[in-house]
């Protein structure tokens, strides 16, 4: 059933009037949204950055395939073909033992140029998988192939990292869900109190034949405004806080190859997300609270 524009304007006016009439309750509800969103937001920012750093490290994981010294050039080609045929592979590149030695000398110092006389290193295929988690499996498969001396990927470190990231993500999801749940509970309770104060009004509306939708609308709009008002402070605080933190910390960490998410790429989605959450819990809180007083 389409709502008349006049009726919608009435609901609009009513929602503001009600917020003014119940000033302290409105303030309490807005504060509840503010506090919980601030907690959720800060936590979200930390989680997103940890996740980014973890993913960066994961993406650096590669399998180094040592080619047997006895392999001829065509053997090596065959090995390469076989590795490429594995479905998990994203890229493969070749690094001869001479190149390997040059890299070593560059990283470790010219002491290692001794080995130029008698190079002890292997020719190496550097293999990356599409999903970092497939690395151990792929390494195991490659080791089965002929002419592979060894396939190494820093076993223990990598698996520890993967396990840590998996746990961290799960814990993060549970914590965010818990925070959001608490927020909803708190807000719906606050709104419930404001609606409880108006149950007589609802009762009379029902007695004179107002439809449930008609009764509900001003409350839903009120929830919407409360959510929006409550999200202002957290969004501003997180944007400002992240702006300064990112500048201060990023400079110090960049030498360790750790990069934070940039200001806009982080703050924009977080702002949208917090706003959506705020509006959703505001409306949802109103909805379930008003429903309780509806069956008069």
């Amino acid at each position: 059933m389409a709502m008349k524009p006049r009726t919608f304007r009435r609901h609009f006016r009513e929602s503001f009037k009600n917020m003014r009439r119940n000033g302290w309750m409105t303030f309490a509800a807005v504060s509840a949204v503010t506090v919980t969103l601030l907690l959720t937001g800060v936590f979200l920012v930390i989680m997103l950055n940890l996740n980014k750093i973890g993913t960066d490290i994961e993406n650096d994981v590669e399998v180094r395939v040592h080619v047997k010294l006895t392999a001829s050039e065509s053997d090596r080609e065959r090995l390469k073909k076989q590795i490429e045929s594995l479905p998990e592979i994203e890229s493969i590149s070749f690094s001869s033992k001479e190149e390997e030695l040059q890299n070593l000398i560059k990283d470790m110092g010219s002491d290692f140029s001794l080995f130029e006389q008698n190079n002890p290193l292997y020719d190496v295929f550097i293999v990356k998988t599409a999903r970092p988690q497939d690395t151990p499996e792929v390494a195991r498969k490659i080791e089965q192939i002929e002419y592979t001396e060894k396939a190494v990927y820093g076993e223990e470190k990598v698996e520890n990292l993967f396990n840590f990231m998996k746990t961290a993500r799960n814990v993060g999801i549970v914590l965010v869900a818990g925070l959001l749940f608490t927020a909803m509970f708190l807000i719906s309770n606050t709104i419930k109190i404001t609606i409880f104060a108006r149950r007589k009004e609802i009762e009379i509306m029902k007695l004179v034949g107002a439809t449930n939708g008609f009764i509900r609308w001003p409350f839903l709009l009120e929830g919407l405004w409360i959510g929006m008002l409550g999200s202002i402070v957290p969004i501003a605080a997180i944007a400002a806080g992240y702006y300064y933190t990112e500048q201060a910390i990023a400079a110090r960490l960049s030498s360790h190859f750790i990069e934070f998410i940039g200001f806009l790429p982080l703050v924009l989605p977080v702002t949208v997300l917090l706003l959506v959450i705020a509006v959703f819990i505001g409306i949802w809180g109103s909805f379930i609270s008003v429903r309780r007083f509806m069956n008069v």
Binding site: T7, E201, L207, G209
Partner: protein
């Protein structure tokens, strides 16, 4: 207008408020519901505006069967039934005019019609000059007049009144009663639960006496029949 057939009402706590009620009230009738406290008068009244559903039997009001009425259709019924209570049930923050207009606003009536209708009924109940006052600034009788004005402002076919004079002094009660008579003369059915012996015995109308959940007596131009 109102038809009950084999109506039984049991509450979840096990109390049987009404059992085997058969009654027909025609359009334009004026009916008193009398009986001792706790006999089922209020339940009878509540069945009519579908505050309660019958456990068994049929309640048909203005062609609508309340027993199997969907929750979302209840407003349709309520718009045909005006209700007046002992405690007036006015909204304290709205003035007299707004309290009456409220009943039309919630059914999305045109603003022009609202203004016209509200002033008409306020004139009828004699409170046109107090339209801008708050309920707390009025006497009990005046508040009840506002409640009555609200109950009839959307031209319902029937007005249900639950002890409308219960909180009022005798003189004021007579004023309220003559208001109900006026409304009845205009063709609106009135169903009134009351304990007021004086009124029932003076303004003689149909009397339905309910005792222990059954109709003990149903007389045209009956009397109150109980010691007050």
């Amino acid at each position: 207008m109102i038809e009950m057939q084999g109506v039984t009402k049991k509450y979840p706590n096990g109390v049987t408020a009404l059992s085997g009620i058969d009654v027909t009230i025609k359009q334009g009738e004026f009916v008193y519901i009398v009986g001792p406290s706790g006999a089922g008068k209020s339940t009878f009244i509540k069945l009519i505006y579908r505050e309660e559903k019958p456990t068994d039997g049929q309640v048909v009001v203005g062609g609508i069967n309340t027993a199997n009425l969907k929750q979302r259709s209840v407003p349709t019924l309520r718009r045909q039934v005006g209700v007046v209570f002992q405690d007036f049930k006015l909204l304290p923050l709205l003035n007299v005019y707004e309290n009456v207009a409220f009943a039309l606003e919630v059914i999305e009536e045109e603003p022009k019609v609202i203004r016209k209708r509200v002033m008409e009924v306020l004139d009828l109940v004699g409170l046109k000059h107090k339209a801008r006052m708050l309920p707390t600034e009025l006497s009990g009788g005046e508040q009840q007049r506002v409640a009555i004005a609200r109950s009839i402002v959307n031209n319902p076919k029937v007005v249900i009144a639950d002890e409308p004079t219960g909180n009022l002094d005798p003189d004021t009660s007579w004023d309220i009663m003559s208001l109900f008579e006026t409304i009845n003369e205009r063709g609106t059915t009135i169903v009134m639960a009351t304990h007021n012996k004086e009124i029932v015995n003076t303004i003689r109308r149909r009397v339905i006496a309910i005792e222990n959940g059954r109709i003990a007596r149903d007389e045209q131009r009956g009397d109150y029949g109980y010691e007050a």
